[in-house]
């Protein structure tokens, strides 16, 4: 280790964070290098002087009286804190969300009571249609925003039904991949249970008939 290397470890050494082989190398260099010894001695002495030097002017004897006198003169009292900051910030963040929910579900909008010119447009499937070009404007209007949310919710609910029927087809695909004897074991029947869960109206899946070349295809 040379002086340039050792200088990089001065801070770690003075902070007591140098250990292991690096510490051994550093100590070996420090013991034989007068210049590094001087620099370390200076830094250590500086820290001791800062820590130990209590010289300086003394505080006025009437300092405490002056502090309390100013408090009385200005009528200062500890300010009351009504809400902890820990609650104010999250509450402020949740306020817009609460406002949207309130407008969406509590706003007394009934499409049957709206005049024809204000009823939301719907396509042939009955879903609410909103022109994308008018989206920004709709965001500012509570009624239009309500229609938009309603339309998206209807679309999602319809998609759920399609998803359920498609998911029920998966077990039949799996059954076709398995050989006949495995398909008839109890191991496979949980697939049938899943079918019952997602698509209760769909009939049970029948295992495929064994073929002459009935090999494991997986």
């Amino acid at each position: 280790m040379n002086c340039r290397d050792a200088e990089q470890f001065f801070d770690a050494y003075l902070d007591g964070e140098l250990d292991g082989s690096l510490r051994l190398e550093f100590d070996a260099h420090r013991l034989r290098c007068r210049d590094c010894q001087r620099q370390l001695a200076m830094l250590e002495s500086f820290e001791h002087i800062i820590a130990g030097d209590r010289r300086g002017p003394t505080l006025s004897d009437d300092f405490t009286d002056r502090v309390l006198g100013e408090i009385d003169r200005r009528g200062i009292r500890p300010a009351r804190v009504l809400l902890s900051r820990r609650f104010v910030v999250p509450a402020a963040a949740l306020l817009p969300a609460a406002a949207v929910l309130l407008l969406t579900f509590a706003w007394p909008v009934s499409h049957t009571s709206l005049p024809g010119s204000l009823a939301p447009p719907r396509d042939e499937s009955g879903f609410v249609v909103l022109d994308p070009a008018e989206l920004d404007t709709a965001m500012q209007d509570p009624i239009r925003l309500h229609d938009l949310i309603l339309g998206e919710a209807e679309r999602f609910w319809a998609a759920r039904g399609n998803l359920a029927s498609e998911a029920s087809a998966i077990p039949s695909y799996v059954m076709n991949l398995l050989p006949h004897d495995v398909a008839n074991t109890p191991i496979v029947s949980p697939l049938d249970a899943l079918r019952g869960l997602f698509a209760p109206g769909v009939p049970p899946i029948q295992a495929p008939e064994p073929t002459s070349a009935d090999e494991f295809s997986l």
């Binding site: 500086f46 800062i50 820590a51 209590r54 505080l59 009292r77």
Partner: protein, 199 residues
């Protein structure tokens, strides 16, 4: 003062008890003044800053978080007032004010080499500290003078503890640059004397 006793005093002060707040002022005024004086280097200004810090602390007592040390919170208030004062004055370094220096004996190790030498070394060191930036100077004063941790100092300065450590290292480097040319032989003499006395 134990933490439990201190919290009881703070609770009484929060209810408007002047005597309780007096106890708090008396417990911290010397330490706070020593720190502020080393920041401002002006006796009257340091007293004004300390007075303003205590008044502000009393006013904001209900927002003090008991999970942290009261000293850390108080020093944070004083540091911010100091910064405002320094910005107004634009006095980042100033002459050492020895107008009311007390008669305490200098450090034992330094006195061996002569009181004149000790005074010269001390003046050089404090002049170098005065030339540090306010965050670096604060980190040095609180770390070595008040034995505060990097985490507590970080709270005072409003920076992460790792940045405090960086300030301390940079302060060390600056002081080394300033002092090494002046005191190459003196430090070795001080170190040798200290070692021989402790042997």
């Amino acid at each position: 003062m134990s933490k439990a006793n201190e919290l009881k005093i703070i609770a009484r002060a929060r209810r408007g008890c002047g005597q309780a707040f007096r106890e708090l002022v008396d417990a911290y005024k010397e330490r706070l003044f020593a720190f502020v004086w080393k920041m401002t280097r002006n006796h009257h200004e340091a007293e004004d800053v300390c007075q303003a810090a205590f008044v502000k602390a009393y006013q904001s007592l209900n927002s003090y978080n008991e999970n942290y040390a009261f000293s850390t919170w108080l020093f944070t208030i004083a540091y911010r007032i100091c910064l405002n004062q320094l910005r107004k004055k634009r006095a980042l370094s100033g002459e050492v004010d020895f107008s009311r220096v007390d008669g305490r004996q200098p450090d034992a190790a330094l006195s061996v080499s002569g009181s004149e030498e000790a005074r010269r070394l001390r003046t050089l060191i404090w002049d170098a500290v005065d030339k540090l930036s306010p965050p670096q100077r604060t980190a040095v004063l609180l770390f070595y003078g008040e034995n505060q941790s990097c985490q507590d100092i970080g709270m005072v300065l409003g920076i992460p503890a790792v940045t405090v450590k960086s300030h301390l290292h940079r302060a060390r480097a600056k002081l080394k640059t300033v002092l090494s040319a002046e005191l190459v032989d003196d430090w070795m003499a001080v170190r040798d004397l200290r070692d021989s006395r402790s042997a």
